[in-house]
Subunit: 213 residues, 2 copies
């Protein structure tokens, strides 16, 4: 059975949970607590699976794989039912671009290790960390809202769930935690609402995970 | 003819230039100066092509595409000669993971807009910005060097040039500019040296671009 090493609140792990549920794959959720005792991702038992000491890691038989988007593309190729990418090359590329607007240009700036560095190494107070967070999310959502005008139907790209939706929903969950005002993003909000009504997204939500606090 | 909007020193544009040269595609290089007058990426003429106001953007006929990795995957699917990904699903995923170690977990933390924010908004001096830069590059290269032990041959994944190499070479170029010590990364250095000897990488190097200063 597939093993997914993740953490309830990690956006990157959340993306992969949605993908597994979307495809109806049975998987074992293994918690890597990013907070407890300085972070279990630094323990040798885990870092041998993930030398970057980040979540998620997927283990499928003897195959070990890091990086949420690489994992999702792998699942989509290895388990092609209910595809997460459209068929035509240019359509696929547009979905990948939407996904990377979040996964590359937004989320890496705002995850736990970066917020920690801002506090511990640069001596920034909570208020400056929140401004930092809001700044990068707003940059990304401003661009995305414009792009969705051309690409979206019910979901980020047309009327089918794609990898872009798997990135968007965890990012919005995260933004809500940090009280980012979402008023100016009607398209993003509509898509997220429709996604959240789907079983795969419901099952994957952080609060339902066994390691949720 | 393909148009590539980029900037000579942008790592993300550099990746796509290598891909184009690798595949022998004729393309027109259009400079978006990220520095002059606060940045040409903010001008309306460009931001309509790239609502995130970042480089690169590829225009292939009537197709407009953002995000370097999405562009490279598109080029690889639309122009399949000299593929940049291996054939098997798990191999492809490993290459994508190596690429994202740089493109998602390292480069977005260290690009121009982030270093600017650290200075202008958080009042950090050059010394703190350099420490920040070194910290995230070192994190990424430490993990990558370990992973390359399993994946690398002449290049990041086996003996063929892949997307992972297209991400690595610009990141190392960038790290060298910031004087990141590279002594503890013999595998990375070996791969970069072999890449740099190839015509596609040579032609794509920043100093050879028409907008280089």
């Amino acid at each position: 059975m597939i093993k997914l090493y993740g953490y309830w609140r990690s956006s990157a792990a959340y993306r992969v949970r949605i993908a597994c549920h979307h495809k109806g794959l049975a998987f074992e959720n293994i918690s890597v607590n990013l907070v407890k005792g300085g972070g279990e991702q630094f323990l040798p038992g885990y870092s041998v699976l993930n030398p970057n000491k980040l979540v998620p890691t997927l283990v499928d038989g003897d195959r070990i794989l890091n990086q949420s988007l690489a994992i999702i593309e792998y699942l989509d190729e290895a388990y092609p039912e209910k595809p997460l990418l459209p068929e035509r090359a240019f359509d696929r590329a547009q979905v990948r671009a939407l996904a990377n607007n979040i996964a590359a240009d937004c989320h890496p700036l705002n995850n736990l290790r970066v917020l920690k560095y801002l506090g511990n190494e640069l001596g920034q107070e909570q208020e400056a960390k929140t401004r930092w967070y809001h700044h990068w999310v707003t940059q990304a959502f401003d661009g995305l809202e414009l792009q969705l005008e051309h690409s979206a139907g019910l979901f980020c790209f047309g009327d089918q769930v794609t990898t872009a939706d798997l990135c968007l929903v965890p990012q919005v969950y995260n933004a809500e935690r940090f009280n980012v005002p979402m008023g100016q993003y009607p398209r993003i909000r509509g898509i997220v609402e429709r996604c959240r009504a789907l079983p795969a997204f419901e099952l994957a939500q952080p609060e339902l995970q066994p390691d949720a606090v």
